[in-house]
Symmetry: C2
Subunit: 490 residues, 2 copies
């Protein structure tokens, strides 16, 4: 290891530490910040962003990259990430980055108001400006290549729109067909009872611990939206409680615990380096979704949870473990992606992916977006959007310029499907553990196969190594058809 490498890494380590500080500002804002601090907080965010951008584009990085000579695979992986971040930051002119920051901040406010007022037309001009700026940014990064791929690369390095189109195209008919079959079956039972907040929070802490979240290096707070924040030794999650829907609290916690455990379980040697964080949004989502769904919503684990819920809340209006499993996995009509069940969730994502790809390529005009959304929705879901806040205005992403983000949700589900199949092969008697509320062999396998590597391998590679083959949509679809076929008898 050369001195040039150590010098470069010391600089990068400080930048990563500053990145953690900047990220924690976001946690603070969503959990504990006084309302009246908002204007000052914007200045603080801006100042931190300026510091981080200056460091990522610093000549120290370019000189370090030029000077380092190494064949060490970990060092090479670090350099790959450092170069990637430096290239990206230097290719985007400061004036464009500033314009994007201003326009997305503005568009976010306009979107929130337009959604509250069910006024699509009020949002579209702002969306057009954001789209134009993000396209310009993608062209600055990608040159003549497909700008959508450059956007996607921000969230899922190496993925392409063409590859995802093929994968999602294979998923859609099987998902629509499964949804159609389930819709014709009798509905699953629903919870009854009262679920006091302190009981929800006590059980949600128990669930977090059961899935391996280390509260000595994390904490659980309440926030409007559940999220996971931070890397390394300080990874915090949030949850929320809803008086008549304890599953909202429990499963959003398990989901965020999946994200948080990924960050907590990365090799300690990578702390505060580019390898010390989850490698992509898709791989991140694979961890949150396998914790939440393949493990947390399994027949075996829900059998244990059924007992813990009755211990905590008394009668919950469900007669058996099988009924409870069906209840946890209940499928119903709904407009909202974030509230969707395992089967329909991906249909929500696929719709957004196709529309945003068409927006970026200009195959779809912004003016025609709502119509395209509503037409696609009725085709895939079998009923019509009743208002914009249930349709094209429901998600925050586009207002913030996050084109290329949506598909990583479904890619994460596909990855989770592959990992789950491999996990079941590796631990054939896993259900005996899960039925006792013991996830340790499952989460231990994920830690050793995926999480500990952090950013060492490319996203597809880490999944392929863990799953024993290139990721495909097959295992996810097989799992969904088997699971929901059994629950609904279809």
């Amino acid at each position: 290891m050369t001195t040039a490498y150590e010098t470069l890494m010391a600089y990068v380590r400080d930048t990563e530490a500053l990145g953690q500080v900047a990220g924690r500002l976001g946690w603070d804002q969503e959990t504990v910040m006084p309302d009246g601090a908002l204007d000052q907080r914007a200045e603080e965010h801006g100042a931190m962003a300026g510091v981080l951008h200056a460091r990522r584009t610093s000549p120290v990085i370019a000189e370090g990259l030029a000077a380092v000579q190494t064949t060490d695979p970990v060092a090479l992986a670090q350099l790959h990430h450092i170069r990637r971040s430096h290239d990206r930051a230097t290719k985007v002119p400061a004036s464009l980055a500033g314009a994007i920051a201003r326009e997305t901040s503005r568009a976010h406010r306009i979107w929130a108001q337009a959604r509250a007022e069910e006024d699509v037309a009020a949002f579209l001009p702002a969306l057009s400006r954001v789209l134009d700026l993000k396209r310009e940014e993608a062209q600055a990064i990608a040159g003549g290549a497909d700008p959508y791929d450059a956007m996607l690369d921000d969230f899922e390095p190496g993925a392409t729109g063409a590859q995802l189109t093929a994968m999602f195209g294979a998923m859609r008919p099987r998902l629509v067909a499964l949804r159609d079959r389930v819709r014709q079956a009798p509905p699953a039972p629903q919870l009854q009872g009262t679920f006091p907040e302190d009981g929800q929070m006590a059980l949600t802490r128990e669930l977090a611990a059961a899935f391996g979240y280390d509260l000595n290096r994390g904490r659980i707070d309440k926030a409007v939206h559940p999220f996971s924040s931070g890397s390394g030794l300080d990874v915090r999650i949030t949850t929320r409680t809803s008086a008549d829907d304890p599953f909202n609290c429990f499963y959003s916690t398990i989901h965020e615990v999946g994200h948080a455990c990924y960050e907590q379980n990365i090799d300690r040697a990578y702390l505060l380096t580019p390898l010390g964080a989850g490698v992509s949004m898709g791989v991140h989502e694979s961890q949150s979704r396998i914790y939440e769904n393949q493990l947390g919503r399994s027949r075996a684990f829900t059998g244990w949870l059924y007992g813990r819920m009755r211990d905590t809340f008394g009668d919950v209006g469900i007669a058996s473990e099988d009924d409870f499993h069906a209840c946890v996995n209940r499928i119903g009509d709904g407009f909202i992606r974030t509230e969707a069940d395992e089967v329909q969730y991906n249909l929500h994502v696929l719709l957004r992916f196709d529309l945003e790809r068409a927006l970026v390529s200009s195959d779809l005009a912004v003016a025609d977006l709502e119509g395209a959304w509503n037409e696609r929705f009725v085709r895939d879901f079998g009923f019509s959007v009743d208002r914009p806040s249930h349709g094209v205005l429901q998600d925050v992403h586009w207002s913030e310029g996050l084109f290329g983000y949506f598909p990583t949700y479904s890619l994460g589900n596909v990855y989770a499907g592959c990992l789950h199949a491999a996990l079941r092969d590796a631990v054939p008697d896993l259900d005996a553990d899960l039925a006792r509320g013991d996830t340790s062999r499952a989460t231990g396998w994920l830690r050793d196969s995926v999480q500990r590597h952090g950013g060492l391998h490319a996203p597809r590679d880490v999944i392929a190594q863990a799953a024993g083959g290139a990721p495909t949509e097959g295992p996810l679809l097989d799992y969904l058809e088997q699971k929901f076929g059994a629950i609904y008898g279809v």
Copy 2:
């Protein structure tokens, strides 16, 4: 106003915003940080300190200062602070600053262990190293001038050791004499009863609001040590509860509210500029102490508090408002500065001031410190130190290199005495308000006379303008003799 000024101020404003972010890391660490995050947090602190130091010594500052031409008094005051901070940061070599950071961090750990083990000898070598480094730093800043004055200037710009020696020399005999008289009188009554934590926290929030703390731009959390953190729109305080001593909670809250209101009430035009923070530790302490003591422990206000405590906790074992006032202002023997009453508090400070000044000038050897402490203590307090943790090892300050900090506590009390006399002249019927728990005319006068100016005037000047004359120790001593003479009949 020239463009050069605006350019400079934009740079400085970002630095101030980053300073707020760095300060909030400290708040986070003391209130919500998971224990296991400590190692990472040290890296984050270090990275933020590096960024701030680089900005304070940046050529942007030197060039800006050279280019700006202005006669505007506010701009001149900003430039004064910018120049002062830049001069100080550039005069201290990076290697020395680094050595101080490392040695104080190390000495702090050694001190904590030495205090736990009552082992003075284990701490003295570390103290010697810190003292040598801080002396070297003071010489780098002050050149041939008295190094103690350079240290003091860090906390109380413009104050000198000689000036404080004269002031404190005049205070000491009158304080010792008052303490002697009170010690011979029958003791004040003590609280009886139980004081559940939720009642303490509810009443402490009511007290914070009663003293004008704006919770829309702040928050109250629990921490091991009470403190106030932040400036501008996000000023947070902490408190603590002790089952049998609710006054600890209430009066530490009122004290921190004094600090916090100073920061909250600074002219909004100074937000995130060098004028947007309290001008010195002494002026800061004058606000916390006048809130806590001259107002919060007054006969009128404690009459109101007596009723609120009985509403909250039932019988508190005190028969009358007069007895309650005596109870709140109870004087007793004690070793610990932070637990001392109004009379003896300054004797604790004066002892430390004389000893640290002698240490810095080398008139006192580190090896002789404990003996000097114990000898002085028995002379001023009338009884002997029984163990090092009750004597020379009780405070954290010296281990952290904070020489010159202690005297600002007593200077703050002196300032509070001057302000209180002027306030009583300005609002002769103030007690009628305080007896209703209404501090608005008192805190409003302090806001308008002192707090709103932030860093606009030099510390002594802002007190002199508010009090109508140069600050002296007389009003504080008159107030103490009158108040405790009445309570104890001496």
